[in-house]
Symmetry: C2
Subunit: 128 residues, 2 copies
Amino acid sequence: MNIGDVADRSGLPPKTIRYYEDIGLVTPKRAANGYRSFRDSDLHKLTFLGHARSLGFSIEDCRALLALYEDETRASSDVKRIAKDHLARIDKKIADLAAMRDTLSHLVRECAGDDRPDCPILQGLEDG
Amino acid sequence: MNIGDVADRSGLPPKTIRYYEDIGLVTPKRAANGYRSFRDSDLHKLTFLGHARSLGFSIEDCRALLALYEDETRASSDVKRIAKDHLARIDKKIADLAAMRDTLSHLVRECAGDDRPDCPILQGLEDG
DNA sequence: CCTTGACCTTCCAGAGACTGGAACCCCTAT
DNA sequence: ATAGGGGTTCCAGTCTCTGGAAGGTCAAGG
């Protein structure tokens, strides 16, 4: 398979796939003409990566998960730890964003939004 | 005031304040020795920026908000539009993260987390 | 055989918002 | 004179791609 094929099948852009090769996440063979030549196993890896990335795992988490994915003698506890840590980061982000939303939506509700200069939003940003 | 003073009072690191000068958010005067010399108005701006950033506004939003903050003839509707747009982006992010969390927490619950290789998390990442 | 167009290749730069570090200057106190 | 704690500039790195330029390759059509 050429890069366009795996791009279509994995849902990842060719640029991203080249980048993943750059950083050592996949190592496709090369054809005589210099084109990357992807095996089924490469496609599986890229699909796996696409899913992991869409769940918000960092590239380094993905690297670790991929290694476990490839390792038949893995312990599921290792996978679970990575996932739980990531889950905790997600929860933290959600909490941070929710706090922002609460503050901001309060200010937005207070603001008349007309042609006058008085603005509780700016006031709120000034006062903290 | 020197940069250390405004850093302490605004809560922003000196590096960040220099960066904000670089991109034109503040323009402190210079003392004879080359040190930045901040007025009260600079401190107010930096404090404002710190608050806006902590609510997740982008630098470009901050630039626009700061211009409105300085403009006595502003219309509060302009401020409100920026805030509402940002609120929508926050809500979108929260929704995206919540979706990740739901998928991931389901997988984590399914995983035994022991020393055996069988792992619903990896399975889930493989299958999408 | 030549051209066209769709592939593919590499390399460089930029996005956002800082942050770390190096190398150096300035000011005050001892 | 020196030590320390300021300050200055500039360059590079973070993270994960993404856009673009310049150019090689391949299959189909005239």
